[in-house]
Symmetry: C2
Subunit: 189 residues, 2 copies
């Protein structure tokens, strides 16, 4: 059982949500499972992940925390680590893939350190190595959160003086898009 699911359920939920059976989410699910056990049942936990790759989906699938409900924060650090913490005490656990430990599982090590191109190392082989290794490649530490534990508050809403759309007044007199961050142009066709 992983995160309260059989292996088949676990893998089919990954397929359904993430679109394919990525080794990173399989490993992420095992990390979530371990971290949930450390923090204990019945604790309302918020989450922080330290990579935008795969890990956010493992947390969103196997905990109540999502990006859209604000209980998951995503840091773009490219580190394969996550923390779950009690949202009241801000005490919790950080868990990470321990590179030294992965060396005992060559397929896992080569995938994790990106030493072998994808074409030469199938997802199936990596996933087999992950299931063989399970928690043996993980390390953890009890932590206290010092940043990012605040819930994002919605600010006062106004109408942008430039585009006329609603936005948060804390951004200034016009919205961030009109301040030069716009990511699109009108379709020229």
């Amino acid at each position: 059982m992983i995160c309260g699911k059989t292996i088949d359920e676990f893998l089919s939920e990954i397929m359904r949500f993430h679109g394919f059976k990525a080794p990173g989410i399989v490993l992420g699910g095992i990390m979530v499972d371990y971290c949930q056990e450390l923090i204990g049942a019945g604790v309302e936990a918020d989450a922080i992940v330290e990579s935008i790759h795969c890990l956010p989906d493992a947390v969103q699938l196997f905990t109540p925390c999502t990006v859209g409900n604000g209980w998951l924060k995503v840091l773009d650090w490219d580190k394969y680590a996550l923390s779950l913490y009690n949202r009241k005490t801000v005490l919790g656990f950080r868990i990470w893939v321990d590179t030294e430990k992965t060396k005992s599982y060559p397929d896992l090590y080569n995938w994790y350190m990106r030493l072998v191109p994808k074409k030469e190392l199938s997802s199936e082989r990596v996933i087999n190595a992950i299931f063989t290794a399970e928690r043996n490649v993980l390390s953890y530490q009890a932590i206290q959160i010092t940043q990012h534990s605040d819930r994002h508050k919605k600010g006062e809403t106004g109408i942008c003086s430039s585009c006329g759309e609603a936005y948060s007044l804390k951004q200034g007199t016009s919205c961030l898009s009109c301040q030069g961050h716009c990511y699109y142009i009108k379709n020229p066709n």
Copy 2:
């Protein structure tokens, strides 16, 4: 039907994933449904949302795009707008809640502009107004994406000289956490 689901299925998927029946995701689902119709069936679409609140979950629930698979980008602009675009041509549609149009639906307008405290305006009333309004409060534009359409590439992996964990070498000689962004301390207890 919304996003190919009955209203009951639609609402129960929201409950299961997001944890509660947030009006923002109900509205977001209607936006996704409309945008998918505009872009057309069979188009492999990537997504951009312009708020961290609720909208990311609507896209993750009702399209194949997630944060962890990289097909969804989340901008923290506090604007209730989203874009779906063909990932090859980068042509697509942006859809947003049009404040002027919401004025015909007072409960929706008051909720959207945050004019009435949550205690005085129940989620049920707002959701009823959203279902009454449906697409009548939305506007859209055909767009071409000029930013954020690139997939995030994983960089070369190395070992941080400070903490010994794996990280992306493009961050420098130590990882971002060791460069002063760390969000935790060891549990002092």
